[in-house]
Amino acid sequence: MGNGAGDLPPGFRFFPSDEELVVHFLHRKAAHLPCYPDVIPSLDPRHYDPWDLNGKALPGGNQWYFFTRRALSRVWASGYWMPTGVEKPVTSAGRNVGIKKYLAFYAGQAPVGIKTNWVMHEYHLLDCPGGTSADDSGWRPSKTSGHPEVDFNEWVLGRVYESDFGSQSSFYDDGTELSCLDEMFLSLDDLDEISLPK
């Protein structure tokens, strides 16, 4: 599988925001709506491991994206995913539209597996529209009312990566970092701000 960028020129990469993942990709997947670009594949990960997603899931930077059925999402070939307990709401236009859960991969059999440095962000649509906060009501599009068979909990969207450098938050930490040496020289330039007394 390529980078999914289709006929985009070099330099374009998949660096989605949480909001894009939930609103544009996961919601459309759940609602059986056509999705352009249809770049995120659906996986049955029971036979996969986090380290062999290359070629099977959509790469973006050093992360991999895929859909999976919620029931299948946690037990993989060589181990299992454990929730870390950290969850974050995903908002769009001031409304909660989904939840982002952080999981860690343990190699071996539950519950005695060995923790690895593989991490998954698991994106869920909100269970019940209008449930937890008043803001939620009205977000779920009216399309759903005509499709009572749509189960918004059927699919989750996974983002998997190996966390060897601490936190990795896709697009938003990239590009605006300076190297340590650059930072040093910048601080040294402060001397220029000082003008000597005449």
């Binding site: 999914g4 960028a5 289709g6 985009l8 020129p9 070099p10 330099g11 374009f12 990469r13 998949f14 660096f15 989605p16 925001s17 894009e20 993942l21 544009h24 990709f25 352009y36 670009p37 770049v39 973006g60 930077g61 697009f171 938003y172 990239d174 590009g175 605006t176 970092e177 300076l178 190297s179 340590c180 040496l181 650059d182 930072e183 040093m184 020289f185 910048l186 601080s187 040294l188 330039d189 402060d190 001397l191 220029d192 701000e193 000082i194 003008s195 000597l196 007394p197």
Partner: protein, 364 residues
């Protein structure tokens, strides 16, 4: 074809323009130099003299997604018709190079260089540093295949620096001790040899790593207006950030440690050491001088609980000279001996009365 058609972005959701440095140079800039059209017209030509950094984001928008960095081509115009320096001044300020240029590799082969620039508001040399940073990439000038130069074209990436490494500093220390310190250490480091530059950088890098733990010592290296690499062998300056003037304990260090030392002999010693240190720098300093500087730093980091060894001890009057020489009114001659006399006539003023008396007595 453009990146937007009828106002609609052609970049699908989730995708961002996030090129590698190799892609910027080997694909985009090479295409530009060869006069070929770049796909989707994603990179505009920007006249850096006419565009302020905060206007770049509007001009260089790619699609509709939020962006943290912006890309464009720029043509380097000469500052002077015969010179090689580039004019990067705008109406509101100017771009100033910082640090060393970094080599960019494509595989094992060097394909170009990256220069880092900072935007200053105002006019040199009194500009106010901003958080706007530019990486300017240029192709390697002479290519193996004989084709020559990038015709003055560069590809640039502009972004706003996250400022989370800055150390808050009081305005008092900046306006007083730093000024004098800068002046003096400029002198000290003026004639550093090229080999010394690397030592300075190593030294500063080491200090840099600890700057959060030890905010007292914050050496500053600058280049007199241009990238250090561009002027290797030229002047290199450093600054030791000193404790605020309100803190007399550091200033009275020599006397607290050795109250029995008579002032005149101590003064002679310190002048002697100071002169020899200066001489050492002028003659191509070796590791010894750096060891002395390290000890100086160490003595300031460790506080005044123990008596410093000779080298650091001798350095202290120099520091007093830094502190007081520059704010001492008319003393603009940076004669080391004068500086030291200033140090000893002025330092006790802010010290304890007993020390002052002792000093004035021994002076006469």
């Amino acid at each position: 074809m453009s990146i937007t058609v009828n106002g609609e972005s052609r970049v699908p959701p989730g995708f961002r323009f996030h090129p590698t440095e190799e892609e910027l140079l080997d694909y985009y800039l090479r295409k530009k130099v060869a006069g070929k059209k770049v796909d989707l017209d994603i990179m505009k030509d920007v006249d850096l003299n006419r565009l302020e950094p905060w206007d770049i984001q509007e001009k260089c928008r790619i699609g509709s997604a939020p962006q943290n960095d912006w890309y464009f081509f720029s043509h380097k115009d000469k500052k002077y018709p015969t010179g090689t320096r580039t004019n990067r001044a705008t109406a509101a300020g100017f771009w100033k190079a910082t640090g060393r240029d970094k080599a960019i590799y494509g595989g094992v082969k060097r394909i170009g260089m990256r220069k880092t620039l900072v935007f200053y508001c105002g006019r040199a040399p009194n500009g106010q540093k901003s958080d706007w940073i530019m990486h300017e990439y240029r192709l390697e000038e002479s290519r193996d295949d004989g084709s020559h130069s990038s015709e003055g074209w560069v590809v640039c990436r502009v972004f706003k620096k996250k400022s989370h490494y800055r150390i808050p500093e009081s305005s008092s220390s900046k306006n007083t001790s730093s000024v004098a310190g800068a002046a003096k250490t400029k002198e000290i480091f003026r004639s550093c040899s090229e080999g010394t530059l690397d030592q300075i950088i190593q030294f500063l890098s080491r200090s840099c790593k600890h700057e959060n733990e030890f905010p007292i010592v914050n050496p500053i290296l600058t280049d007199g207006g241009y990238a250090v690499t561009a002027s290797r062998g030229a002047s290199v300056e450093s600054q030791a950030k000193l404790p605020p003037l309100e803190n007399p304990s550091a200033i009275s260090l020599p006397f607290d440690c050795s109250p029995h030392v008579g002032r005149s002999s101590y003064l002679q010693d310190s002048i002697h050491v100071l002169l020899s240190v200066d001489q050492g720098y002028n003659e191509g300093p070796e590791v010894n001088d750096w060891a002395a500087l390290d000890r100086l730093v160490a003595s300031h980091l460790n506080g005044q609980s123990s008596c410093p060894e000779q080298a650091a001890f001798s350095f202290c009057p120099t520091i007093n000279g830094l502190l007081y020489g520059g704010c001492g009114g008319d003393s603009q001659e940076y004669n080391p001996a004068d500086m030291n006399l200033w140090a000893f006539t002025r330092a006790p003023d802010s010290d304890s009365p007993s020390t002052s008396r002792r000093q004035s007595a021994s002076v006469d």
